[in-house]
């Protein structure tokens, strides 16, 4: 069975990596590149925990083969902010109680960030619609929606 050499850019760093054709993008990120911020939840495209951007487009990395991302620029939660310099969404999720167990959080934040890029001044209903494919089993979503609304304001001002 074929193996493929991929040339990808992950969070600004160029990587060359050898994968088998059936490697999922989510497996490549977590198991080969050890970027474990991206989570594997349902692995059937339902929960959104594995959301990352590929060439600027938000995708579910469990529904994509690593070989499909050859030559692409990928951004994961690790590329969004750091402990020293939090992204406005990371800060607002902490401040507004958008995090409980934390498992859905990287996918939520990647989705919210992509959503705010296309809709910087959303209504609450639009935020709920935009996060419609990301499941959270702890918070009941209100904290998450509040956090996205707060971050939207901060990001507009920044």
């Amino acid at each position: 069975m074929t193996r493929h050499v991929l040339n990808i850019e992950v969070n600004g760093e160029r990587e060359q990596i050898d994968v088998s054709a059936h490697r999922l993008l989510s497996e490549l990120l977590r198991d080969d590149l050890h970027l474990t911020g991206t989570k594997r939840g349902c692995e059937t495209g339902t929960c959104g925990a594995c959301s990352v951007t590929v060439n600027g487009k938000l995708v579910k990395s469990c529904l994509m083969l690593a070989v499909q991302a050859d030559k692409a620029k990928i951004t994961t939660i690790e590329g969004l902010g750091s402990a020293e310099k939090l992204h406005p969404l990371q800060r607002s999720f902490m401040e507004r109680g958008g995090v409980q167990c934390g498992y859905c959080t990287p996918g939520m934040i990647m989705t919210a960030n992509a959503f705010l890029e296309t809709n910087p001044e959303p209504t609450e209903a639009e935020v709920r619609e935009g996060l419609g494919a990301n499941l959270c089993r702890c918070t009941g979503y209100n904290g998450i929606v509040d956090a996205v609304m707060q971050a939207a304001e901060v990001m507009r001002g920044a």
Binding site: M1, T44, G45, C62, L65
Partner: protein, 293 residues
């Protein structure tokens, strides 16, 4: 998931060559959102995947007032939703694409892939049927064009041959069928797969309907046109009563599915309700709230 060979042809011709060699032992991958699930559940175990993602000739949306619209098979649902030409000339299709599935899948899934998978619980086939769309299939044996109604055969089954590739979707100019609407019914707001869909494109001559196409999907194995309701409305002065009657024909005439997602009776009733509401919107007719379908 089992391992497989992975080919990435650079042109339609090259892809057709690979397809003619592997046929049934291969599957074409575009966005992969549907195929990935089928592979993981071992519903499909092809020996190789043929990725068409690098084939530029299968991309793009081209509008021509004389010929209508060409949508490359690799066009993402989010690109359909954002296309100026589609928003201007086929608002039904743009509206449908803006809300189908979810944001991530709209950024990954392609129109061609969606049609080839022939999942009943999806949106594009119903809308495209009401727009009289055709698909273009290519193989080493040549190119052929099929009406969407010929292409969609049954539950998850199309008329595509194992060596063929769906390269583009063609839609005729809307002409006088300028009034159109699409409605999807979801059982719960959290579910992204519709239980019933209705698409209507109509031609209006003042208050008289001079031509109409009504398509229903998701509640049926494949989307279907409703000829009795269409004939009933054609040439008729439009009223709330006429719409109610036509919607009742729709509910009666569909070959409704009966499964764990919805019983036959439920699907018929909900299809009738959304057919009535969609027709009312198309014709600008006020409907009383809470009336019988």
């Amino acid at each position: 998931m089992h391992n497989f060979d992975f080919f990435k042809p650079a042109s339609i011709e090259e892809a057709a060559e690979v397809l003619s060699k592997y046929g049934e032992d291969s599957r074409v991958i575009a966005g992969g959102t549907a195929l990935m699930l089928a592979l993981r559940q071992r519903l499909l175990q092809p020996q190789c995947l043929i990725s068409v993602g690098d084939i530029e000739a299968m991309r793009g949306i081209d509008w021509d007032p004389g010929h209508g619209l060409r949508i490359g098979a690799l066009t993402l649902h989010s690109e359909v939703a954002g296309s100026e030409a589609i928003n201007t000339h086929y608002p039904l299709l743009a509206h449908l694409a803006k809300r189908m599935a979810n944001p991530q899948v709209r950024n990954q899934g392609t129109l061609g892939g969606n049609l080839c998978y022939a999942d009943p619980a999806t949106d594009p086939p119903t809308g495209l049927l009401a727009l009289d769309a055709r698909v273009v299939l290519h193989s080493v044996r040549g190119t052929r064009e099929l009406l969407l109604s010929q292409f969609l055969v049954d539950y998850y089954t199309t008329a595509i041959e194992p060596d063929e590739l769906l390269v583009e979707v063609l839609i005729p100019p809307p002409g006088s069928y300028g009034s159109s609407r699409y409605t999807r019914f979801l059982k719960t707001a959290a579910e992204h797969r519709p239980l019933a869909t209705v698409a209507v494109a109509a031609s209006l001559d003042e208050a008289t309907c001079s031509g109409i196409r009504i398509a229903v999907g998701a509640s049926t194995a494949i989307p279907m046109r409703l000829s009795r309701a269409e004939k009933y409305l054609t040439g008729r002065q439009i009223s709330a009563e006429a719409i109610r009657e036509a919607a009742a024909f729709v509910a009666e005439d569909i070959d409704a599915l009966d499964d764990s997602r919805g019983s036959e009776r439920y699907r018929r009733r909900m299809t009738g309700v959304i057919a009535r509401r969609t027709l009312a919107e198309v014709f600008g007719i006020e409907q009383e709230v809470g009336g019988e379908p």
